[in-house]
């Protein structure tokens, strides 16, 4: 196969005695090497591609809840709804008048919304500095809430966005009834709830 016969004719000249043809003891190992490398490739690919990664998640401790002085302008509420729809509003909790809708897409989605928010918060409130790494961090506070119909994938996606946009202060919170109502009402404030608030 991989060998070229170079012995050139052979026999003939000597005549006389009939000798048993000497067979080479060499075995062609090429197919075996082929097979071995194929298997190596297979094992390498299957082991390295199958490794699951993990992300860290910390929940606040209930007893040690430190109340920081929070300005309303630092807040952004992100609500995850069904069918990958993301709702957000930037005022304090329960004030639903400027609820907007966006998606998870890389451009024009929630990532851009958070980046714009960062820019505004940096301008109005300055930036924090990490004591250890001396790295500047944004002061934006992201409140993440899961509305009816949100999938686990959405939760992982928004946590990933927190990492991408370098938002250090975020928390997963329970949704407030009025927020769920507004989402059910397609982002518009229900008239009854407004009158209740005014009383």
């Amino acid at each position: 196969m991989a060998e070229i016969d170079t012995s050139g004719g052979g026999g003939g000249k000597h005549g006389g005695k009939v000798r048993g043809k000497k067979l080479s003891t060499k075995v062609d190992l090429t197919p075996m090497v082929d097979l071995a490398f194929l298997l190596i490739t297979f094992f390498m690919l299957t082991t390295s591609l199958n490794k699951p990664k993990a992300m860290d998640l910390s929940m606040p401790k209930k007893d040690k809840e430190k109340q920081k002085d929070v300005k309303e302008g630092q807040l952004i509420n992100v609500l995850l709804g069904k069918d990958d729809i993301v709702w957000y509003y930037e005022t304090k909790e329960g004030n639903m008048t400027d609820m907007k809708q966006t998606t998870f897409s890389g451009t024009g989605g929630i990532r851009d919304v958070i980046m714009r928010k960062h820019a505004r918060v940096d301008r109005d409130y300055g930036m924090d500095e990490d004591k250890k790494t001396k790295e500047k961090t944004h002061k934006t506070i992201v409140l993440i809430k899961m509305a009816e119909g949100a999938k686990y994938k959405d939760m992982v996606d928004i946590l990933d966005e927190m990492d991408i946009t370098k938002s250090k202060i975020y928390a997963i919170q329970d949704i407030v009834p009025i927020e769920q109502e507004t989402i059910d009402n397609d982002g518009k404030v229900k008239t009854e709830t407004v009158t209740v608030k005014q009383k």
Partner: protein, 219 residues
């Protein structure tokens, strides 16, 4: 003038050395690779760009229907956990203290399990490990009967006995949810963890595809 004959040399290369090396590599990869553990349900992991490796952890799987299963790192760990379950929660699950060695052994063979500890456990554990895995119905974790929390606690006690961890070296807890799981089920698991004073844990994901991470890096 006689022709100068260039001696024809054989073009064959000795393959023995190459064969040796390739089989050595092959053996290495086969021995180091860990096969995917058999799971009662297939879980389609969500993508993320984080890249933390989690090796030894108590993994809580949450399937599409919101049922929870638990996976301990090794067979000895599972045996120890079962022992601890009997020790700490014997009033709640009296059945778990009355298991035979065979049944305990069967339990240790099941990598990912999920069943109601108040159902007929001895009968279930008399079956073959494969069948036990298939019959998993999920561990109850509602607030009235939170058995998942007990299993996690028992796992942490077992970890203390086996690995003698220092305060910050305790075993990690990881949540393995399906993409399509209702987030409420995952939040219930998280609530169970925080109720048991576990505030830092991991979410298991797979690495996102190249395109998304590339756009992420530009930002």
């Amino acid at each position: 003038m006689p022709k100068v004959k260039i001696p024809r040399k054989s073009t064959s290369v000795d393959m023995t050395a190459m064969c040796d090396v390739s089989f050595l590599l092959l053996t290495f990869f086969i021995l180091t690779s860990k096969f995917k553990p058999t799971e009662p349900v297939a879980i389609d992991l969500p993508n993320s760009r984080s890249s933390i490796q989690v090796n030894d952890a108590i993994k809580i799987s949450v399937d599409k229907n919101g049922k929870a299963y638990i996976n301990y790192p090794s067979a000895t760990f599972r045996l120890k956990t079962l022992e601890k379950m009997g020790e700490y929660y014997k009033d709640k699950y009296p059945q778990l203290t009355q298991l035979t060695d065979k049944q305990k052994n069967n339990f240790a063979q099941v990598e990912t399990f999920g069943f109601d500890s108040k159902s007929n456990i001895p009968e279930l554990l008399s079956k073959k490990p494969d069948e036990i895995s298939k019959m998993s119905t999920g561990i109850p974790m509602d607030s009235l009967d939170n058995q998942l929390g007990d299993w996690i606690q028992a796992g942490r006690y077992a970890d203390v006995d086996i690995n003698h961890p220092t305060a910050n070296g305790a075993i990690r807890i990881a949540i393995k949810g399906d993409k399509q799981t209702d987030v409420k089920a995952v939040q219930q698991v998280i609530k169970t963890l925080t109720d048991n004073d576990i505030h830092t844990f991991n979410l298991i994901t797979t690495l996102a595809g190249g395109s998304t991470s590339a756009t992420a890096d530009q930002k």
